[in-house]
Symmetry: C2
Subunit: 241 residues, 2 copies
Amino acid sequence: VADQHTVRAYDKDLDLLERRIAEMGGVAEKMVIDAVDALAAGDAALAHQVVGTDSRLDVLQREIEEHAILTIARRQPVAIDLREIIGAIRVAGDLERVGDLAKNIAKRSLKIGVETRAPRAIVGIKHMNDFATELLKDVLDAFAQRDVERARDVWERDAELDALEDSVFRDLLTHMMEDPRNITFCAHLLFCSKNIERIGDHATNIAETVFYLVTGSNLPTDRPHGRQETDMETDARGELR
Amino acid sequence: VADQHTVRAYDKDLDLLERRIAEMGGVAEKMVIDAVDALAAGDAALAHQVVGTDSRLDVLQREIEEHAILTIARRQPVAIDLREIIGAIRVAGDLERVGDLAKNIAKRSLKIGVETRAPRAIVGIKHMNDFATELLKDVLDAFAQRDVERARDVWERDAELDALEDSVFRDLLTHMMEDPRNITFCAHLLFCSKNIERIGDHATNIAETVFYLVTGSNLPTDRPHGRQETDMETDARGELR
């Protein structure tokens, strides 16, 4: 009976982690959408709202980390359950950074609010963001359902987002060369497009975590956590296959 | 005697974590210096070397994480010791990302190797990198010695690096406006300068971890891990004071 009690308590610990992560996912998704909407529309109120929401993610991540560490210390879980907890910590870390990236875009939108916006230059950014939002949504579903196939699909589609960023980069340079008055605005958009590309990288990280949770295979040592910080990297995609 | 044995085993666990982190710190520092040297000199061999070194950091981080989690599960440490382990995980995470950022610069250097480099445009980047390297070196010393004052000093100086980035941003825009042939090169440099600014943010994170290790105060909930991802943020610096 004592053992059963321990198991039940442990399940409750895991449940709590799952629920917190689902909440983080919902908040992060909305921030990503709102940030680029605010940028495209020059909507300062919406941008401020995105910036303000970020602290919610920070609190949730802190809670998840603390609860995870305490669970490990208290319940001394064996391999498979330890995996669940490490997975929760990783996903929370990725979602927290997705929120930071959305916040960066919102802050930049506020900064460039008064300058001339070139609507044509922003089309590519919107398209990138739609794509990144979809990756994020799909990978959170994959995580909730422990669906490896769906995770693998996200992981593969991230290459498209990288290609989109390359094309947006070139497009923005063209706008700069055409008219020097576009330079400042487009320089800011370069950073926004990089932020969106990195949101996709975090979706990819989460896909890798789903893979790890379900299969127990360790993440590849040549790219652990690395992707989220890596520019211009589309090679070495073979690890999940 | 059994208790003493446990304590000694635990000390050995912590020692191993410390040594691995010191090794990561040395590798990361060198990568940051070499990456910008390679960029400034157009030295492809050096850039390739930086890119190749990054996997060493990834392996070390993986080892630290795994060893830390196993230590928690095996030894069930109490509060103060748990702090040491969580601190090790955090610092390893920051150093791994410093390596990624250096790698990004090195990769970008390889990409722009064939284009016209404007030596004047790169001066600010070199200055920023000297400053960031110093922050990193100082905070690693602060971590090794658990020196809160030194950590606080790094934490405060990071604002200067942010100011430097602002100035480099404006400088690069000027070069772009002066001569459209500078636009592509300077667009790449914008990303390099952002990468260097983020290296400083990771130094700041490590400073916060030193503070947490020594004082036991939790990191502030309104900026946990957030700084490393945050653009243009110089406000809300009051937490450590």
